[in-house]
Symmetry: D2
Subunit: 338 residues, 4 copies
């Protein structure tokens, strides 16, 4: 059960609620978000029932019975879709959001060229890795803080927001200084310490699905972020690992529908990492929007043939424009028809 404290409730109200919980032999988990305080009640079901009956306590807005482990992220908790406002850009608000840019920040020159292309194409976000999680310690690990500054500058010049990955608990604040949305990568989806830390950073978080994470594990990972105080979580489907080797991963578009059924949070799709093939980015972007995704994140590189990573799946600026046109056409139709 979750007890949602009313906006104007006092410290004394909260203390009283805690006391009642303890009296029933139950434990609680406190989530103090920017906008509200939520008390997750944990323990024996019978005692929870007793508590519920007694519980028209002062300062309590509502109590919600939730059957799943994940609570704050669930549709049961919140019926309407969450719209995440990133300084004016709305994610989940109807029109699809597009995040685009190179896999890794390589130089200011590369980034400016990419940002310009991305902006002209109509994207709202510039993506790019300053800290890169790489399978081998000897691979290029990213430009770190220098990369962050370049991202911010290139984005500002072109009127874009920045989304970039945070890898390390100790650099969360640094990344949060330059990024508008903090990205948690697939390999860190169950790095629970990092999830808690980004949840406290005061910025929206985009949570990529783990390489072999189930929908339920993914929802629970988001619960870690929300229970740490962040209301603005965006899911990102980026393909799962299967036996098939023709594509890099297998894009699971049914996950878009599943997330919409089970959660109120928005979801975007990454066709570039999911397929690993440039030729699949356009059709899979369109399919994602048709399936109900709130946006896509696409790798665009001014010169894919010399990219430090993921060249095979990066679009050239001129191809990106066509993809954007198709996405927009698809989106207008879909919204027009309902």
């Amino acid at each position: 059960m979750i007890i949602v404290m009313a906006p104007g409730s006092t410290e004394a109200d909260l203390e009283n609620v805690k006391k009642k919980i303890k009296e029933e032999g139950l434990d609680y988990h406190l989530s103090t978000g920017s906008s509200r305080t939520i008390v997750g009640v944990i323990g024996d079901k019978k005692a929870v029932s007793r508590l519920e009956m007694h519980c028209c306590l002062s300062g309590v807005e509502k109590t919600v019975r939730i059957t799943e482990k994940y609570k704050l992220v669930s549709r049961e908790f919140k019926g309407e879709n969450s719209v995440i406002d990133v300084d004016g850009v709305k994610i989940g608000g109807g029109a699809p959001v597009v995040m685009a840019g190179p896999c890794a920040v390589e130089s200011m020159e590369q980034l400016l060229e990419a940002a310009k292309a991305v902006s002209e194409g109509g994207a709202q976000f510039l993506r790019g890795g300053a800290f890169k999680p790489r399978t081998s310690p000897y691979d290029f690990q990213g430009m770190a803080e220098d990369g962050l500054k370049m991202l911010k500058e290139a984005a500002d010049i072109n009127g874009l927001k920045v989304v970039t990955e945070v890898l390390d608990q100790r650099t969360v604040d640094t990344v949060a200084e330059f990024a508008d949305v903090l990205q948690i990568g697939a390999r860190n989806m169950q790095n629970f310490q990092l999830l808690k830390e980004v949840g406290r950073a005061g910025k929206p978080v985009m949570l990529k699905r783990g390489l072999c994470a189930t929908i339920k594990e993914w929802l629970n990972a988001a619960e870690y972020i929300m229970s740490a105080g962040c209301d603005d979580v965006i899911f990102c489907e980026r393909g799962i690992r299967t036996y098939e080797t023709y594509t890099r991963n297998t894009l699971d578009l049914s996950a878009v529908v599943a997330i919409k059924e089970l959660s109120h949070l928005p979801i975007i799709v990454d066709p570039s990492h999911a397929t690993g093939r440039r030729s699949m980015v356009r059709p899979m972007s369109m399919a994602a929007i048709a399936a109900g995704a709130d946006g896509v994140i696409i790798e665009v590189h001014p010169h894919p043939e010399i990219a430090l990573c993921d060249g095979d799946q990066s679009l050239r600026p001129e191809d990106f424009k066509f993809v954007m046109e198709d996405i927009n056409r698809m989106s207008e139709i879909l919204r027009g028809g309902r």
Copy 2:
């Protein structure tokens, strides 16, 4: 290498080609389709090269070097898309084809109700299992030949074509008598004897992807059918088996793009079996069409709550209508824009 005999070539031409092949110490595989004769040359690469040089023989239209094991199904072999004409209904010709109906034929009454709904919705094909492949020998195994007759009758009354599964080499001819398209189910994708048999039946064949088949294995399975003499093969993506349990299988829409890249044959998508969830049929149908699929196959049952199988994923007639409207809208937009 493949040697394609010219339309007007004679028996003597063919004999001469065979003789030359043997002279080089090579073997051959003969594919005598309704429209053409193809000689697949098998053996040592050097000898194949020698043969090629000598080979401006009488009656030969062209020779094609093909790097993959699958040849007749490949884009290398035929550049333009194949359009399969099922007695006037075109598959792969632009407008999406819709096949719909119950999982299993249960009774004439059920079938008539389903066929009417399906036809009114705008589908072109009635689907339904007369022979059912079931995990347990004690589950309902289908109505067999009686079921076939009902299918044909219900389809005729409502102006529909019939697509139904063939499970057994010995019933291929019986099924071919009543069906317009013969379906090979996922479990039989590598039942090579059955593939050869349906390839000889003189009807188009819809080949479902195996539960854990790679794209390449699937193409090779289609090659079995084509090399047995059937030019009209339709792929059907129906989800692959992964670790995820929220959906019955994981629908792999990138396979649609892969098939389009590697083969000239059409592909349709089965969102019902792939997801196992009624609520996902509409969004996944739209995503399939957006990804470039040539059609969808959907389970529709007049009364899903009493269906003998797959009730959870079957649409009610009224829901099917909405799905059809969305598919048509999607299709018009996609075609309009190009």
Copy 3:
């Protein structure tokens, strides 16, 4: 529920049982094996309970309540381990059985050399494919009936039994004429028509696990064979398909324990196909025996470097001897200690 008819029961007894079942509104499935008749009762649980109470009918040996779909193969149905006697060679009787030989029958010469090595090493069965299921129609498809005859002759000369795959319903009798154990390959594990056919052939059947078959599906496939009248089914674990590419498949040795828990039937392990690597055959054979497997099936080729298939995973005769020594040592220890 299953009703097991007593050995000396009459036709009249059976008719009476059927009548009672029908009176309760239930259906039945008749399994007439060589040794017994079993009536599987199918239908509403309440009616089954009523039937059970009434059912001390003449000619009935016992009734068994079985919770799973698979019944005859289950431990619930038969508590003690089944020992399968193949003309004197016991499978499941304690000492591990070894089946060995080449992937495919290529020539009498090859086979005689292989059979001699296999026999000298101490194996009891000669394996080898006369009919080969191949991904591509252009790959070597086996020597067919000629191969069967060679197998039988090479085995007879060396005092071995023959195990070989049957691919086609129409050749079941032919294969049964030459083979002591009929093998169903992984790709045909759910080719239900073939399962029924081999179940009627009067020979023991070795059922390989499908590439992505669950334990439960595998048990149900065995149930198809047993319910068609064959009591002597041997499971064969041969690796499942996963994302890992270092090995050809992933050998699932916990399946050995699972089968032992859920079924009374023996299970052997195929380390050659599972790993696809010669170097892994010895350690995985030992691990299989340690896990409780009743034997192993190993690819041995006199000259792996020129094998028509699976050369990379075939042992040379000299290596096979060492593996046999290790298997025997392992087995003695395991049995000695209990």
Copy 4:
């Protein structure tokens, strides 16, 4: 290429080597372990070849050409098996090492009971989680530092070493204070920051395989730890995620052989987490040792029925004794025979 500096080499030698590398336009990665300094040379292959020819420089012990991304962990780099000495207990030295104890530290009482049983059974390590990675933020997260102290105390009393998981970069030093071996859990296998941090902690590290990690990714993860200065890495196979649901994960024992082929480092096996079933722990432990594993890690709980986590897979002390006897018998035989 790797340049291994000789034990007595000087700073000046190293500077000279670095200078030569830069002169060829190459980059380097420095690994300063407790025992040696290694210079990994990164860059264009031709330049590496030139460097190699020039490179009989002062202070250089040897240069090694390594084809894979992972270098320090590879068999190419070190031919003989590494034996890791944990204060007298040798891992990889022939006799199997056994680590045992509860999933989570719950109380001093529980731990003392478990440690006594584990020690009497003959294990060398006490395992137990003080920091628990849990799917849900509302599940028991472990006793943290208190748990570490209890572990150390219970181990000391019973003459055991401690192995326990570290989840957070910031607690590496705290865990290293109490633990003899630091464990990296499956979910953190590609938490690269944590890998680097534990590599610097001066303690042996046990690296569990990720839920869907390939062998190659696992080796690269170990390379992160070794390149950070730790020579003592132990692999731990704990099952991979597949479609099969009968077992919690699928234990991949061929990974034991793969690691032995590709690396000089020891590997142990976790049958408890891999199978999730108590009944499978004994046979899978024996199979692991038979496959060549250097030890096993087993969950033992004095009262599994009240365990806070993983009760279903925990052995009771009396069962653990039998497993130990079987492991020891297996081990003696295997070693005796060679």
